[in-house]
């Protein structure tokens, strides 16, 4: 079912949501990110945000367990009603991917109390390759902008409750795929793990972990303790952690199991395309291109995989690479 909302009415639709929900949306500050908004004027809807929406559900630092007087108590999730507006298809799929690997009550209650509203991606840039990643429709509501109005697809009862008053579309509009210039040609790269081609990328890598910070599906975390001043009580919190850092796999005694930058870099790519796929039957990468956009040394692993593909076919045919 599709509903229609004229663009002139859009601000008042958001104001209506603000009355009963905490509304988050893409905002342009120093960088573009999802933030709590006070009015529809703050929204920045032109491009994919730099910082993904995962930070709403998985903040950088969140207390999970508290110790007091020799007893431990677990923090229960935030039950505030939230709406996130302006999620692109990649952001929405990323949330579905995270749901499969996050099991703690804090995350789950936050997710349960949130309505996701998608927005069609009108201006994908040269880094976007979402069409290669077999994305699915997963939303409560999805806005598709036309000349003077938004066509709103309804994906769940939670979403329908927000647009009940709007008129139903006379003729439904088919939502196209966003226009991509970048393509990931091969995703089954398991056999190419030992290919030498990865070494060139790993050579450029600084292990700065910016790719995992900006990735909308990177959920790996650390559990850290803080001691209170009385030296007995404390707090335990879940913090962001990145597989690109050496300390990620460091165990007691000092051994780090992925010591070389090459194996850490490959772990990132292979986790996205191979490892997650084996457990869940889909790719962990959503093709948003954030890791490529943010990389300070411009590592383009999508290009590397495409090269890999052509290299392997050349090998099979037994010919030499043409200049």
């Amino acid at each position: 079912m599709q509903k229609v909302l004229s663009k002139a009415q859009f601000p008042s639709f958001i104001e209506g949501l603000l009355k009963s929900y905490e509304v988050y949306g893409p905002v342009k500050d120093k960088n573009t990110k999802f933030q709590k908004i006070g009015s529809s004027k703050e929204l920045y809807l032109d491009t994919v945000t730099e910082i993904p929406a995962k930070n709403i559900f998985l903040p950088e630092h969140e207390v999970i367990v508290e110790f007091k007087g020799g007893k431990a108590s677990e923090r229960q999730g935030d039950t505030k009603k939230r709406v996130i507006f302006g999620l692109r298809t990649c952001d929405l799929n990323a949330l579905q991917i995270l749901d499969k690997v996050m099991f703690d009550p804090l995350y789950l209650t936050k997710r349960k109390n949130t309505v996701t509203i998608g927005l069609f991606c009108e201006h994908p840039d040269e880094f976007c390759f979402c069409n290669s990643m077999e994305l699915v429709n997963y939303y409560d509501l999805f806005f598709y902008p036309q000349k003077n109005e938004y066509y709103i697809s309804v994906g769940s009862a939670k979403g329908l409750a927000l647009v009940k008053g709007l008129p139903t579309a006379k003729k439904e509009v088919k939502i196209p795929h966003p226009l991509n210039t970048k393509v990931l040609e091969e995703k089954n790269i398991e056999k190419s793990y030992r290919n030498k081609i990865w070494e060139a990328d790993a050579e450029k890598c600084l292990s700065c972990s910016a790719c995992t910070v900006d990735c909308p599906t990177c959920n790996c975390f650390d559990i850290k303790d803080q001691l209170e001043m009385n030296l007995k009580d404390g707090k335990r919190s879940r913090c962001h952690m990145s597989c690109q850092l050496k300390s990620f796999t460091r165990v007691a005694g000092g051994k780090s199991y992925r010591d070389a930058r090459l194996s850490r870099f490959k772990h990132f790519v292979y986790h996205k395309l191979v490892y997650y796929h084996k457990h869940q039957g889909r790719y962990m990468c959503v093709g948003c291109g954030r890791c490529l956009r943010v990389c300070p040394t411009k590592i383009d692993w999508v290009k590397t995989i495409n090269l890999l593909d052509s290299m392997e076919t050349i090998k099979k045919k037994g010919g030499k690479k043409k200049e």
């Binding site: 999970i64 367990v65 110790f67 020799g70 007893k71 431990a72 108590s73 677990e74 690997v101 996050m102 099991f103 703690d104 009550p105 793990y193 030992r194 990865w198 070494e199 790993a202 050579e203 959920n219 790996c220 975390f221 650390d222 559990i223 850290k224 303790d225 803080q226 001691l227 209170e228 030296l231 007995k232 009580d233 404390g234 335990r236 879940r238 952690m241 597989c243 990620f248 796999t249 460091r250 165990v251 007691a252 005694g253 199991y257 992925r258 010591d259 070389a260 930058r261 090459l262 194996s263 490959k266 772990h267 292979y270 986790h271 191979v274 490892y275 084996k278 457990h279």
Partner: protein, 270 residues
């Protein structure tokens, strides 16, 4: 899934060496042999440790002082409380071990998970055939659980090898794989279970292969950093396998290609 640990009281502390202690904790937990628990000290952190032995009322935890949390654990005394959550992981594949000969090999504190299996075998002796046990330690001062080893010597084929002690008379001299090679355990209808440092397990596996045991009849107990314990934090991944939920006990033919793959990129450039 929850991160909530519960407090339990330490009823006894046994000191073995300068860096290994055994904590007896009053705790009505019933893990499977080979499963691990997350032990924590408030304000310091958590660490995954093998449940060494248990009887439904008590859990023994063998701790080697190697990191932050274990250092804090070492400060705990009798009647102090420590926090535990778990058990996690799959443990030893007991169904596949029944009616088979068993070879158990452990090095150093790797004796902890093996102890839980030996005690299970003791309780259900009729379900298993012959049991061969080989332990490796550095020297006489580093032998752990020596009174239990003496007790087991009466029931099973137990041999202890000391790698760095030329003067010992009580135990045998040499690496654990040399001791095993000397005593020639049965390899027909046999499963071998290993726990220890990865280099030691590699050496033992080579020797087992030479004796005629194939990779699919060898199990490794793996060590990795674990934060959550149930496949969420991604810290313990060995390629696509999570040590916390798919292991920590793996069949060697399953884990071998993955370890070799990860190893292949090491040493290229740090």
């Amino acid at each position: 899934m929850t991160y909530l640990p519960k407090p339990y009281v330490i009823t006894a502390v046994e000191v073995f060496t300068s860096d290994v202690k055994l904590f007896k904790v009053k705790c009505a937990m019933d893990p499977q042999p080979g499963q691990f628990i997350e032990v924590s000290v408030p304000g310091v952190g958590e660490c995954p440790l093998a449940s060494c032995s248990f009887d439904g009322k008590y859990v023994d935890i063998l701790v080697r002082n190697a990191g932050n949390v274990t250092t804090a654990l070492f400060d705990l005394k009798k009647k102090d409380a420590l926090f535990i959550r778990g058990p996690y992981g799959k443990g030893f594949p007991l169904a596949q071990l029944k009616k088979k000969n068993l070879i158990m090999i452990a090095g150093g504190t790797g004796i902890a998970p093996v102890t839980s299996l030996i005690e299970y075998v003791e309780k259900h002796r009729r379900e298993f055939k012959e049991v061969f046990i080989y332990f490796g330690f550095r020297d006489e001062a580093h032998v752990l659980l020596s009174d239990r080893i003496e007790k087991w010597k009466k029931k099973f084929h137990v041999h202890v090898g000391l790698s760095n002690d030329v003067l010992t008379h009580k135990y045998e001299r040499g690496y654990v794989q040399e001791i095993m090679e000397k005593h020639k355990p049965k390899v027909e209808h046999t499963v071998a279970l290993l726990c220890g440092p990865e280099t030691m397990m590699g050496g033992v596996t080579l020797e087992l292969n030479r004796l005629g045991l194939t990779d699919n009849k060898i199990c490794w107990s793996m060590e990795r950093r674990m934060e959550c314990g149930f496949g969420s934090c991604g810290r313990c991944q060995i390629q696509d396998l999570y040590v916390c939920k798919d292991g920590p006990i793996f069949r060697y033919d399953v884990i071998k290609p993955r370890l070799e793959n990860e190893q292949s990129s090491e040493g290229v450039k740090k």
